[in-house]
């Protein structure tokens, strides 16, 4: 049981670290973009291992799908392939190795100072704990911000399902967003709109430039 759960962790951790190293090491930008996708898929696997199914799937869709295509599109558009003969300067190589190592040492120090051993293990999400939280959603004795959920709601039904209770991850994220983060969500929508307009303005060729330059 224990190895069953830790093996995927090491597999996906290895994938994300190896993808990161390839992203830095490969000279061809297209290979770098594909290595970045490898790394993001590894991270998405780690998210799913942490019971964050929705975030893991969104990570694959947005990063490995949309953003990777955008990067490859721009690389192909600019037609860059003359980086093979670029030499790294020794000063920047030194800085590029020492500064991340310092950061890593600091992270290790912080981890050493935090929870250790049994305390750092993840608690299980089982049938009993899901039942308790489902009751809490119906009674709503937490913050008085939202109306209590009814016993017909998808969250309650999924949490207290008799045969196979499941974690209704997406429903709970939606519940949290619309209950506590309604205004930030609207700000995010405005941000996306502004970004869309900004991209159109930026990539529009100004009329002053000569049309021969293409």
């Amino acid at each position: 049981m224990d190895t069953l759960n830790t093996l995927p962790f090491y597999l996906f951790a290895f994938l994300s670290v190896a993808g990161g190293i390839l992203l830095v090491a490969l000279r061809n930008p297209v290979s770098s973009a594909l290595a970045m996708v490898l790394s993001f898929v590894g991270l998405a696997g780690l998210f799913i291992g942490l019971n964050a199914y929705f975030v893991g799937i969104v990570q694959v869709l947005v990063y490995a799908g949309a953003i990777m295509v955008l990067f490859i599109f721009i690389i192909m558009l600019l037609d860059l392939n003359d980086e093979e003969n670029v030499k790294f300067r020794s000063s920047s190589v030194l800085a590029g190795i020492i500064i991340p190592l310092l950061l890593l040492a600091q992270v290790l120090g912080v981890i050493q100072a935090g929870h250790q051993g049994e305390e750092a293990e993840f608690k299980k999400i089982d049938r009993a704990s899901m039942k308790v939280s489902a009751e809490k959603f119906v009674r709503n004795d937490g913050d008085g911000k939202a109306l209590p959920l009814s016993e017909q709601s998808a969250i309650y039904k999924s949490l207290t399902h008799e045969k196979s209770p499941k974690l209704p991850d997406t429903n709970l994220i939606g519940h949290t967003i619309f209950k506590s983060y309604n205004f930030p969500l609207q700000v995010m929508g405005a941000l996306l709109l502004v970004a869309t307009i900004g991209v159109v303005v930026l990539s529009k060729r100004s009329n002053k430039q000569a049309p021969s330059e293409s």
Binding site: V24, Y63, L70, L78, V86, I97, I99, L103, I173, L191
Partner: protein, 105 residues
């Protein structure tokens, strides 16, 4: 299940690799990809703590909502950043950061 510390270590390692890429590489598009990698590594920390800090027996979904917002902002940022790179390439015919020194003063 692996412990919290292992997740935090992997997150720190991926973040450090991204930082190394930002310092080492000269191609501005690859630097941009390394920045995205650093953002995603930070998200892993948020998700790990969200799962670790159980609230009423469920993960603390505030952390995962935060990750959702990070992904949204990263998508907008990539779109705008790549548009800026294309505009830069049109103006200067290069994306090597060592040739782009007009802001050095």
């Amino acid at each position: 299940m692996a412990s919290l510390n292992e997740f935090l270590f992997v997150s720190g390692l991926v973040f450090a690799i991204g930082l190394a890429g930002v310092i080492l590489r000269r191609n501005i598009i690859v630097i941009f990809m390394c920045l995205e990698l650093m953002l995603a590594a930070a998200s892993l920390t948020l998700v790990a703590f969200s799962r670790f800090h159980l609230k009423d027996g469920l993960p603390d979904y505030n952390g995962q909502v935060f990750v959702f917002f990070i992904i949204t902002v990263a998508a907008a940022e990539v779109a705008v950043g790549l548009a800026i790179i294309v505009a830069l390439y049109r103006a200067r015919q290069t994306i090597n950061v060592e040739d782009l020194t007009s802001m050095r003063g």
